[in-house]
Amino acid sequence: MIAVQSKIFDPGAELNLFMKGRTDKGAVVSFTGHVRGGGDVTALELEHYPGYTEAEIEKIEASALLKWPGIESRIIHRFGKLHPGEPIVFVAVCAAHRKDAFEAASFLMDYLKTGAPFWKKEIRAGQEVWIEPKATDYAARRGWD
């Protein structure tokens, strides 16, 4: 199940909500990505393409469900203006075995990092810089081929 939203979310509440009433799959892995603080970036601006972005993320989720049958997953991704410390992305996977949960969550993040249709700019000291995935992100994705 996916959500693409501008609204801030609460990672802990999302983790608990995801697991509510699920006693059959004992292993849960979550990933939360936050806007890094401490540097000179004052904000991040994420643009998405409504309809297309959701559809592409659903394809990524579907390929994880195919690769690790029996898992369930939750993906939340924000767009709009985000500030240091705020959560951007949340991925949770539950599975009967922890290996599947770890692998599928890691796979989802590697694919989102390179394949989710977002365009991102950093605002630093009034200057705007459009950013692209890093070489390490592409390498991480190729690791699953």
Binding site: L46, E47, K113, W119, K120, K121, W130
Partner: protein, 88 residues
């Protein structure tokens, strides 16, 4: 074949909106066959923009599906020009 003109939404995603002078336009799109014709029509004589839109790194999305053919589909309602993703 009857030539028609359709009201189509053109979107410039990411940094392309800065090159195109806006994120979104409504245009009366005449019937056309190829992506090259589409780019020429959209650029309206702005050759820098036309060259930019024709770069292989720019994907064309029609009705929210990536265009992979060299021929435009029928029933175009929305065209988006998509620069390389930043990713999630």
């Amino acid at each position: 074949m009857v030539h028609t003109i359709a009201m189509v939404k053109i979107l410039f995603l990411g940094w392309l909106k800065e090159k195109a002078g806006g994120a979104e336009r409504q245009v009366d799109l005449p019937d056309m066959a190829t992506p090259e014709e589409l780019i020429a029509f959209v650029a309206q004589g702005d050759t820098a923009l036309a060259d930019q839109l024709a770069e292989p790194s720019i994907r064309i999305i029609i009705n929210k599906s990536i265009l992979v053919d060299k021929i435009l589909p029928d029933g175009i309602e929305e065209v988006a020009f998509m620069p390389p993703l930043s990713g999630g």
